[in-house]
Each structure stands twice: as C-alpha cells, then as structure tokens.
Symmetry: C2
Subunit: 174 residues, 2 copies
Amino acid sequence: MAELTGVQKQYILHWGEMGTRWGINRTVAQIHALLYLSPKALPAEEIAETLSVARSNVSTSIRELETWGIVRAVHVLGDRREHYESMKDVWEMFRLVIEQRKRREIDPTREMLRRCLADLDPKEPGADYTRERLGAMAGFFEAVTELHDQMKQVPTGTVRKLLRMGTKVRKKAG
Amino acid sequence: MAELTGVQKQYILHWGEMGTRWGINRTVAQIHALLYLSPKALPAEEIAETLSVARSNVSTSIRELETWGIVRAVHVLGDRREHYESMKDVWEMFRLVIEQRKRREIDPTREMLRRCLADLDPKEPGADYTRERLGAMAGFFEAVTELHDQMKQVPTGTVRKLLRMGTKVRKKAG
DNA sequence: CGTTTCTTTCAGTACAGACTGAATATACAG
DNA sequence: CTGTATATTCAGTCTGTACTGAAAGAAACG
C-alpha cells in the first residue's frame, strides 16, 4: 500500500470529507479509510507518508481510533514498530462508534434534560410550557436509549431480520 | 421570552454544544433550542437580542432551519415582521433532520461506493481485496438506506411498537 | 413615489480546532 | 550503559468556518 490507486484515493478523500460533516476529524477518518482498505497492518510512518500528514498527527489520530475500538496495534515478527489494522466487520464498526457517541453525547444530554426538569421552578413564568417541551424531548432521548440498548444485544446477523420485520409493520400500518 | 430563565439557558447552551459535535452550526442549534422552548413565534430581532448574536447571523441560521423544515415563518396580526416558530413534534423533527442528512451525506457516499466499484480495475494490485472491502461497505449503506425508507413510512405512533418488537427478537435470539 | 421597516447579502475579521515539527519520553539491541 | 529506533507530547502556527456590521434589497405603508 505504498502507492494509492485512484479508487483508493477516491474512497479515502470522500471518507475524510464525510467525517468532517459528522464532527469527526478529517485525518482520523482518512486514516481509518486507509486501514480499512489495507490488507495488511501498516506502521505509523507509512500512514503518514501515504496521506502526507505529520507523523505526530498520525499518532494522535490512531489513539482516537483505538479508543473507539475499531483500530488496534499488532506486532509483526522482525519489526519493532507497531503496525495498525482496522476492524473489517462494517456493522460491528458502526455499532462501536454509535455506542461511543451515545456515551459521549446522548447520555450527557439525557442527564442535562433530567437536571433541567428537576431544576425547573414551577413559579417561573411559563414553567408549565417549558416542562412540557423538556418532557417531550426527554422522552425522545429515553426511547433512543432503549432502542440502542436493544441494538447492542442483537447479533449482527439478526439485523436483516429486523429490517424485514420493519417491512411487515409498515404494511400493516399502511 | 425576553429574558431567559436558568433552565432555558442551560438547555440552549447544551443544545448548541451538541450541535457542534454533530456538524451543526452552534448558532443554528441554539436558535432551534430557543424556538423549541418558546410558546410563541419570535421575530428575528428578539432572537438576536436573546442569544446575543448579530441580526444577520440569525437570518442565515433561520434559513438553514427552514430548509430542514423544522422551523417556519408565521405572521402576527398588526406586526410586519416575520415571526419564527419551531415544530414541536420531537420524533417528526428528528425524522426530518435525518432525512435531510441522508440525502446530503448517505446518498452521495452510496453513489461514491458504486462509482468506486465500477471504476475498480481488476488488473490493479490487490483489486480483489479492495472490491471485497468496498462491497461490504456498500452493502452496509444499502441496508441503512432500506431501513431509512421504511422508517419514513412508519407513523410516529408505531415507533414504540417497533421498539417492543425489537425486544422480542432479542429474546428469541438470546 | 418617497419613506420607513424589516430582511438578506457579502466582504472582512475573529476564532476554534487541526496540524506541524521540535523536544521529550520510551523501548530495545548490542 | 550507550546508541538507535520508534512513539508521544506540546507550544506555536495555520486554516476553514462562523460571525459581524455595513450596505443593498424588499416589502409595506402613507
């Protein structure tokens, strides 16, 4: 993977762009794309060269990918350097990312909504309306959490089954 | 809504912060939060004052919220200014946002993956592996699209039903 | 029409976060 | 130990996006 083919470049650049739109660092996303396409684990040095970014930038970005659990370091016999490889199971990868983001963003929001509802002084102007709106939003986040907890326990293979069930429900409702 | 209560401030600030983490402009998110909590439609001027941002910034941000379909302008008798109000149905709001983001981000990614698979020259080094990886990723995006199309047609009330079905599937699988 | 009120556009500025490269730390071999 | 290879940290710089304020543009009145 010293030289990138046209298709690989296309994928990596798009993935980086996509990352920025979802609040994920462009370099982090690009490195992930590169590792995902690579049949073998790559040392940081090679990643830096291939993507034309600073070696230190790779170090930080790999750390981030590791905390998400979608990239890990492996060792190669006769080479002292760490080599990094990406998880290949796409569903599992997204599940992990979603789980992390839930923990970092959904959970704190849920917490904030609870605190708001608790802090809400019934005597302040429009308290009833505020409570109603905050309550609706809190309900949404509760449901999302419930949905996520269930998803966590559904094995990858079952996802397609769920998809088909969705179709049935739709037909009944329609 | 001339003065914000402590709880309102808390909600608006958190929502703005949350926005930035998902690639949504902080001001856009804050304005949405403000309108969501407001029992009556607000003129741009008042939004600008309440949030301490430039009047022009409000104009641009409202436009963005309007293209998502979660905020609309309404007219108040005896007032020439446009007043803006947020949709209150939380599920519907998120459905709209997800739909837009799918169109802007998921669809182009799906397209890119198709193009990559089409452009892939079988003679280039590691073509088989690349095809395998791109194929897996493409499959994921196809499934996500399918899931989204179904969701679009499920009425809000049915969502909780789906949640319960998820539980059943999990129990069978477990 | 001219005036007033409100809205949008846009060129310039400010700022947050990404990125770099030098310095530092760590691991290993001889 | 000493020297070398690799990894990490961090202060400073750079860049892209958000934001501002002034100016232009619409719309509503008299």
